[in-house]
Symmetry: C3
Subunit: 264 residues, 3 copies
């Protein structure tokens, strides 16, 4: 069982950051409910000007998830990443199925070049592909071991300045220099759509309360998911009830967090 670094989780609960999520159409509802369960605030929209206005006025962080991008959504993403830069807001890139599909691979490289993300979250094949290795075979549901992508993750962190969170049976969080392994979670987390995508949204919320320490945000994000996933799996052995139990467990874990460490 992981030990939850409660400092950032307490800040999340107190500050309730608003995360503008430009994410895929499969997981919008679950992502919004995950942020609400974690005591953060979701916002979603489909218009470039509105994205700019929201990032200027009230958003605390931005998530870009390319899972079902279209040309129209790509335009909103470009405007949003530029606005995040203009207003010095953290942004998280979730490169869903990058490497497997060329239009989204090009889009991710374009967004990284426009303004490097604060944090990148992906599974092993996505991180390998984004770091320039050849694409793996299976697509979004691959279960490659995250450890195999660790050198790529460290190289990607060095190249972009982003913290990189590689998720899998064991998660790895790295800034290129320091690397943390987070053990826990449950296989059932791969049997519900959107668990990984929602993790990207939570990572964005945590970046906004982590000052400039994106690595600590990646670690806290992984810890909270590992803890909630294990709790939920102990109560719900099938995927329908697991999804519900997971949201309940996230709420419970965030409510139970107490600031036991003095770290900033």
């Amino acid at each position: 069982m992981v030990n939850l670094d409660a400092t950032l989780i307490c800040r999340l609960r107190t500050e309730r950051p608003l995360v503008l999520c430009l994410t895929n159409g499969v997981v919008r509802n679950f992502t919004a409910n995950l942020l609400l369960a974690a005591h953060a605030v979701p916002a979603m929209l489909e218009d470039a000007k509105e994205a700019e206005e929201m990032l200027q006025t009230c958003a605390n962080a931005l998530l870009v998830n390319v899972g079902t991008h279209s040309q129209a959504q790509a335009s909103v993403m470009r405007a949003a990443v530029a606005a995040a830069q203009a207003h010095s807001l953290p942004w998280v890139l979730d490169p869903v199925a990058v490497g497997l599909l060329s239009p989204r691979t090009a889009l991710c490289h374009e967004l990284i070049a426009l303004y490097p993300p604060t944090l990148i979250r992906g599974n092993a094949s996505e991180i390998l592909a984004l770091a320039g290795h050849s694409a793996l075979a299976r697509g979004p549901e691959t279960t490659d071991t995250s450890e195999a992508a660790l050198p790529a993750a460290q190289a990607l962190a060095h190249a972009t300045g982003a913290a990189v969170l590689v998720t899998g049976p064991t998660d790895y969080a790295t800034d290129g220099s320091q690397t943390h392994a987070i053990i826990g979670g449950h296989e059932m987390m791969t049997r519900v759509t959107g668990v990984g995508c929602a993790m990207g949204a939570l990572a964005a919320a945590l970046c906004s309360v982590a000052a400039d320490n994106a690595l600590s945000a990646a670690v806290a994000c992984s810890q909270l998911f590992s803890l909630a996933g294990a709790q939920a799996a102990s109560r719900a052995p099938h995927p329908g009830s697991f999804a519900t139990a997971f949201l309940d467990a996230v709420d419970s874990c965030v409510l139970a967090a107490t600031p036991t460490t003095a770290q900033t």
Copy 2:
């Protein structure tokens, strides 16, 4: 605890009105499931000609929720509001985050000018903004008291002819002359995405069975949500299971409704 005006709820259960919902991408699934739980029938689409055909042939009411509007969806909304006018169907406007974001604010004013809605449902900051007051700070998840927006709601009702339902810890329903306060519900309703948006869809279903009495539809809508929200919260103290319990409670409340009053 609220007393549920069962007359309209019984009509809903018997007549099963079909509501064409042009709503945001975050809440489509929950909105459809809420209407089904309430024994109404949802329909959603993304094509202007299809919207016109459906409103001509089988829809009983229209919901327009601008939460994730795009230029493409705005075109469907314009065609649908014109078709609602042509076929004398009630329509409900849910002005999500209006005031905060200028493109959707302009769109809402355009739609109101095209054909005034039968009912407008929003939280305090949305109603204040739509009535011409300056935008509040926080965005879609603001928890301003609904009471602060009551004069704006009454003015908006007078200006448009719509019934206005301002939702918050206490809901207010007004036609500009009469105003009802509905107490109940539960804070957990703000911890699940789409509860407010689904309320707009239910309001549209109720308008279609309320003859020309949109105020009674607003009151019945708020009463049903308050009752179901309180029931669900007593069984499910966390947001994942609350969402499920809320849909179950709506079904239970609608099934339990008996026409105790003779009002028309």
Copy 3:
């Protein structure tokens, strides 16, 4: 209670086919979760080039559901159906509300002419309309008896070469020559949005493991849904908890399947 033909279900669990789902915006999350509950793998996207790449490299089957098609999505569907033909992959057509709405009716006929589907799943009014009978009155939630559409289903199977699965209180699966009736399920399956749409996705997954026997895929699909629906309804009498229980029951039924017959 139905007897589950376990052969195809066992293959599904072992081979975990990847289904590219071009489906409507209301049911994407539920469809993905249904496939995961059935031990298959969902993929969704919004770009024609990406659809072609995925069907070339890793997808095992394609679902096209026209429930909320737009002109943009129709372009992706055309490219995907052509790619399914190029790579000899099975594809399933779910003609939601065809007959009622003319743009999607034209689109379905266009896709069928481009490359006939392996399997067509619809309710009675959709199958009647697709077979050339005049549209019925009510729209997507109609509860016409599936038996009334049986001659139309058989004619449609003959004309297109597809297996046709007509769903309703009793399901009928036909290839035009042989016809099977599958009894079971529960009325509660009509009180949760997307149950029928998710059935189309499961049918696509089963087609990919059924060699060229699409009729057996249609039968196994209907059997699994009937069994899981009855199990879920015995545990969950309201629609919110039924949706959760249904996903759990699908997982249980797939896990419990043992290859008792030697048929290929």
